[in-house]
């Protein structure tokens, strides 16, 4: 982990990510006034996912580290997906 500037986000990038997060927060907030529909919760979670991706990618430095740690980032999400998929395989086919 050399301390050169290439291994870390620039100040402008950090600020840019913060701005993007705030825009996404605004988008999620304004969802409340949109007409109700089954797509709404999915959209809200999608926005949350976008925020999460930005945080993981830049704030948590996934972009700057070796790929071993990705194994556990993706692993956690994949195992959560197993938990949801097989549990709902039961609930949705009762």
């Amino acid at each position: 982990m050399s301390q050169s500037h290439e291994d870390m986000p620039s100040n402008a990038l950090l600020l840019g990510i913060l701005a993007a997060l705030m825009v996404l927060l605004g988008a999620a907030f304004s969802l409340v006034w949109l007409p109700h529909g089954p797509w709404k919760p999915f959209l809200a979670i999608l926005i949350a996912g976008a925020k999460a991706a930005l945080i993981v990618w830049i704030f948590m430095r996934a972009r700057y580290h070796d790929h071993t740690s990705w194994l556990f980032i993706i692993g956690g999400i994949f195992w959560l997906a197993i938990l949801f998929t097989l549990t709902f395989a039961d609930y949705l086919t009762r």
Binding site: G76, W79, I82, L83, L86, T87, A89, D90, T93, R94
Partner: protein, 547 residues
């Protein structure tokens, strides 16, 4: 230094010859007094702390089992009342699973051996390692309190809404103990993952790792990803009991099956948390005493990883007779058959290794051979249970009890004892008495089969588990089972005695008494505090046996 080990791992500098020197510096005499043990961050000493702790829990849990077996010799159950019996099987299950089997190989042999096998000075996070032991002890205190205060009668599965609403026992305290014990497991798992990824000696590539390391890596992944789900299921039971909210209570709008999904998402993979480290120990034993590389090394290594993944896809087979959807049942049944494949591959490869090698029937190998037979029976009967229609017949009977004891005791405990014998000279610097060892291993094998084989028949004939009375026609097989348990108990007592005796009376162990490969055998017995005088360099595969 032994010649064969010398040629396997070309060290930068060979460790000094030290068999003859008397009071040699090692991790055992490095610091004196109780405090030096309680504040140690040395992975080897933490392994010893765990060894003592889990042996204590094993004894309590075994005692509970002994009372149950004694009670079952008569159809009326003359020894204890039903309520006491319920509390006994709960204590037996909870302690054996979370306080003996889950921590057994990882925290004792794993803690001791992972850094040694990797050529590292310690695990990645030594303080976290010590913390895990303290957390484990704290968890044990909660659980023992629940036991002493009056016990819990829910069984180790804590099914809702019985555990959350109706049971009168000390469920909260025991659930708390399990909740906390989970964190101890997670700390150990995180430590092993980081250690195996980042602390390997120069030249020790993934495909040169001992299979013990592969299996502990797979175990750690399962621990890290499954245990938090158990923690939440226990948390929800506790909160529901405390506040009377009905997340698992259909009368209050909840769903009891949600608990079963969460619980078995952990507790089925927990079977692999328990058995995968056993696989690792067996691989080492068989390679060492067949003097041959494990046949199909990479297949055995990757089958551990595939078990770690597939093991998460089958939990619904515990819920075939619940109100789970039939279609989900079909999927879970199919996936359960799949998980048998990697296990079968391992058994096949171990057998071939023994055929190709020159087998020495030492104590650890006797345990390993016993493991192969018992694990195969346990695994094949698992296929019966994964079949939907057959499971309806034998669900909640002694057939299930026999099946998982063949895996957990016949498999895991044999693997643990075999491994303990294999590495005992390295851990203590003393040799145990070989003939007593062989007698012990044989007694355990005979006693085990006599205890649990009749239970397959009892279950198939319809004797339900978790009852302490039964129709008189089942008495003969129950008496046989109890007689077997007596032999089994004697079998466990033997190693307990001769291993302790060996500490005083045993011959001094050379660095590599089995002429085995592996970095742990290149250092002295017992190893010095920092494991190696010089960081070793590896340029060969594991199990490079050349004679």
């Amino acid at each position: 230094m032994d010649n064969s080990a010398n040629s396997q791992h070309h060290l930068v500098n060979d460790p000094p010859e030290n068999v003859a020197e008397e009071p040699q510096e090692n991790y055992l005499n490095e610091g004196k007094g109780l405090m030096s043990w309680l504040t140690t961050t040395d992975h080897k000493r933490i392994g010893i702390l765990y060894l003592l702790t889990i042996t204590f829990f094993f004894c309590i849990a075994a005692f509970a089992a002994a009372i149950m077996r004694a009670d079952l010799t008569t159809p009326q159950g003359d020894l204890v009342i039903s309520e006491t019996y319920n509390k006994l099987f709960t204590v037996h299950g909870v302690l054996m699973i979370w306080f003996f089997l889950v921590p057994s190989i990882p925290t004792v042999l794993g803690n001791f051996l992972v850094p040694l096998m990797l050529g590292a000075k310690d695990v990645a996070f030594p303080r976290l390692n010590l913390a895990s032991w303290y957390v484990f002890v704290a968890a044990g205190v909660f659980t023992l309190y629940a036991m002493v205060a009056g016990g819990v009668d829910t069984g180790w599965t804590f099914y809702t809404p019985y555990s959350s609403t109706y049971s009168n026992g000390h469920v909260i305290s025991m659930a708390m103990g399990i909740f906390i014990a989970g964190f101890s497991s997670i700390f150990t798992g995180v430590n092993f993952i980081a250690t195996i990824h980042k602390m390997r000696a120069p030249g020790l590539t993934w495909m040169r790792l001992p299979l013990f390391i592969w299996s502990l890596y797979a175990t750690s992944i399962v621990i890290v990803l499954a245990t938090p789900v158990l923690a939440i299921s226990m948390f929800l039971v506790m909160v529901e009991r405390l506040f009377g909210v009905g997340i698992f209570d259909p009368a209050l709008g909840g769903d009891p099956l949600l608990f079963q999904h969460l619980f078995w998402f952990y507790s089925h993979p927990a079977v692999y948390i328990m058995i995968l480290p056993g696989f690792g120990a067996i691989s080492e034993i068989i390679a060492t005493f067949s003097r041959h590389r494990v046949y199909g090394y990479s297949v055995v290594a990757f089958s551990s990883l595939s078990i770690a993944v597939l093991g998460f896809l089958v939990w619904g087979h515990h819920m075939f007779v619940s109100s789970q959807s039939v279609y989900a049942g079909l999927v879970f049944s199919l996936l359960s058959f799949l998980v048998a494949v990697p296990s079968a591959i391992k058994v096949f490869n171990w057998s071939v290794t023994m055929i190709l090698g020159r087998v020495q029937f030492t104590t650890p190998l006797l345990y390993a051979v016993g493991f192969l037979g018992l694990f195969t029976i346990g695994g094949l009967t698992g296929l019966f249970l994964a079949t939907l229609a057959v499971d309806v017949h034998v669900h909640d009977t002694y057939f299930v009890v026999a099946h998982f004891h063949y895996i957990m005791v016949g498999g895991m405990v044999m693997g643990y004892l075999g491994g303990l014998h294999l590495w005992w000279p390295k851990i203590t610097g003393r040799m145990y008495h070989e003939w007593w060892g062989r007698i012990g291993a044989t007694l355990i094998f005979i006693g085990f089969n006599l205890t649990f084989f009749p239970q397959f028949i009892l279950g198939y004939l319809g004797m339900p588990r978790r009852y302490h009375t039964y129709p008189p026609e089942f008495q003969f097989l129950n008496v046989v089972s109890t007689a077997g348990a007596t032999i089994l108990g004697l079998g466990y007592l033997l190693p307990f005695i001769y291993l302790i005796v060996s500490l005083k009376k045993g011959k001094k162990a050379p660095d590599n008494p089995w002429r085995a490969t592996g970095l742990e055998w290149t250092t002295s017995s017992p190893p010095p505090k920092h494991n190696f005088e010089q960081t070793p360099t590896v340029n060969e595969e594991a199990y490079a046996y050349k004679d």
